[in-house]
Amino acid sequence: MKKILLVEDEKMLSLLYEEELTKEGYEVAVVHDADSAMEKVKSEKFDLIITDIRMPGKDGIELIASIMGMRKDIPIIINTAYQSYKDDFMTWAADAYITKSSSLNELKETIKELLKEK
């Protein structure tokens, strides 16, 4: 079973994503900030990471940079409400940039694509 790490500070949204992705057949670990995400990445193996950008404490962009420094092979999806960061070149390091929407289809499709490539 493929393992996904979800970094999302909004509690209700993390519940929604967790349920929906579990239903798709993934094992989902949820953390609410970047520091806990780093801990998780250090101790467990993941096939894919989904992260928001603006979170309390360390933001998603810094998180991506740290993870890239550690584990270059994990695909990363930025899933955020901000469209404006799309032009920020720091986000280009991620494999996909998705603007949050009430339909989760785009997110699910992107996950499928990225995991297939691996």
Partner: protein
């Protein structure tokens, strides 16, 4: 031995050269926070007053789009009026400030009757056959007109209005761009316009042109800043709204797709209701923030207000298992602030302090008169403190370290302090908690 002199002399020594008087007057006015209109009035006054160049009358045109339009007229309407004004203005003790003030009065009187007439003077700047006064800006050249009745290059309608034989057209140009024009004449005394007058007038025109130019640049910058702030706000609001909307949409989708077990259905409906309440709160907070109006600060007795805040149920609930230590002198002076804003600002800060202070720890509130003029209200928490990056950003709109924070609280407090003539200072270091100091203007209590 020491001698004192005024920074800005109201009256100059009679031996001081005219040019110097003129320039120093204009320079002084430009350093004041006057409006564009006021500064143009100063220039028109410099052109017409006895201590300035001494033309009888001046008429200002401004460029609007591709038109040159009459905007202001300064001068007496008849020899009798001129006589009265000039006698008054040359009386001892009348300085330049009084002359400008007088001229402002004169313009507002004459403009009432002249406005309809002035409005008819609107010349196209694209007309290749333009006549004077427009010709001067077309050529970007100062033009002196003599024997105007015989001159075919003068617009007859304009001549009928000013009714003089000789006048001077001064184009206002900055960075090779036309800003407007000033026309001066000696319609009352009929004194000839000499070369020296023209040289001095050209200096005034140069200053006026550049002044109009920088004012328009400044306006553009302010406009751009507003747009940038608006863009940032739009991005933030859409983010704030998007999160609850995604949750509502997602959980609704689940309800529609899945054959629902009653428990799950109920849970999803509860989440949806909660998120809708969250949306309402965002809208309320935003509109509340945008509604802050500057109110005249009044002297208030802040101690009862502070006590009331400490008794608020929401504050009491948050303060459970934490200690709020407060010390406020009974004979504290009154402070200047709007009472409602004072309460909201302090509640905001106290709420922040409670959020970061761990159970078992303390929050300190102190109010102490600094001196006769100032009183400080200090709120110190036992939280983790703020690092340099956080301190830089903490007054930026929409910056927040809280999960559902809008990032408007501290900015609100800052605005309240500024509108009360006071200020806010924050001292914080990681590991040492955060201390917020509010400086209020103090006022002694009157006899009871």
């Amino acid at each position: 031995m020491i001698e004192g002199y005024k920074l800005q002399p109201a009256n100059f020594n009679p031996d001081t050269p005219k040019e110097f008087v003129l320039l120093s007057i204009i320079a002084q006015s430009f350093f004041q926070p006057f409006s564009l209109e006021d500064n143009l009035l100063v220039i028109l006054t410099a052109l017409t007053s006895g201590t300035g160049i001494g033309f009888n009358r001046a008429m200002l045109f401004l460029k609007e789009g591709e038109k040159l339009k009459a905007a202001m007229w300064l001068g007496p309407r008849s020899p009798e009026e001129a006589e009265a004004i000039w006698t008054m203005l040359s009386s001892p003790g009348i300085g330049y400030a009084e002359v400008v003030e007088h001229n402002r009065e004169l313009i507002s009187q004459t403009m009432e009757s002249l406005q309809p007439k002035l409005k008819t003077f609107s010349y196209s700047l694209e007309d290749d056959n333009s006549l004077l006064p427009t010709l001067a800006v077309r050529r970007k050249e100062i033009i002196l007109v003599k024997e105007a009745r015989q001159e075919t290059l003068v617009d007859l309608k304009f001549l009928d209005f000013i009714q003089v034989d000789s006048f001077l057209c001064l184009p206002l140009v900055a960075h090779n761009e036309v800003m407007g024009e000033i026309v001066v004449d000696n319609g009352i005394t009929h004194a000839p316009i000499n070369t020296k007058d023209i040289e001095l007038a050209s200096l005034c025109a140069l200053l006026a042109g550049n002044y109009i130019y920088t004012t328009s640049l400044y306006k553009k910058v302010v406009e751009m800043e507003k747009m940038a702030a608006l863009g940032e706000m739009a991005a933030f609001v859409s983010h704030q709204l998007r999160n609850p909307i995604v949750a509502i949409g997602g959980f609704t989708q689940q309800l529609l797709n899945n054959p629902c077990n009653p428990e799950r259905c109920q849970r999803n409906l509860n989440i949806i209701q909660e998120e809708i309440r969250h949306l309402e709160e965002i809208i309320y907070k935003l509109s509340h923030f945008l509604k802050i109006k500057i109110k005249e600060p009044i002297p208030i007795d802040f101690k009862p207000l502070l006590m009331r805040i400490l008794e608020r149920p929401d504050i009491k609930a948050k303060a459970e298992r934490k200690t709020i230590s407060w010390r406020i002198a009974d004979d504290s002076p009154l402070i200047l602030c709007d009472p409602l804003y004072f309460e909201e600002a302090v509640t905001n800060l106290l709420d922040n302090a409670l959020d970061v202070t761990p159970p078992g720890d303390k929050i300190y509130i102190r109010a102490c008169p600094k001196n006769k003029k100032w009183l400080t209200v200090i709120i110190k928490d036992s939280g983790p403190g703020i690092d340099e990056k956080g301190r830089e950003k903490m007054f930026s709109p929409f910056y927040s370290t809280k999960e559902n924070g809008m990032g408007l609280g501290l900015l609100f407090v800052k605005r309240v302090m500024e509108t009360s003539g006071g200020k806010i200072e924050v001292q914080s270091k990681p590991g040492h908690g955060t201390m917020v100091k509010l400086y209020f203007k103090a006022q002694e209590r009157g006899p009871q």
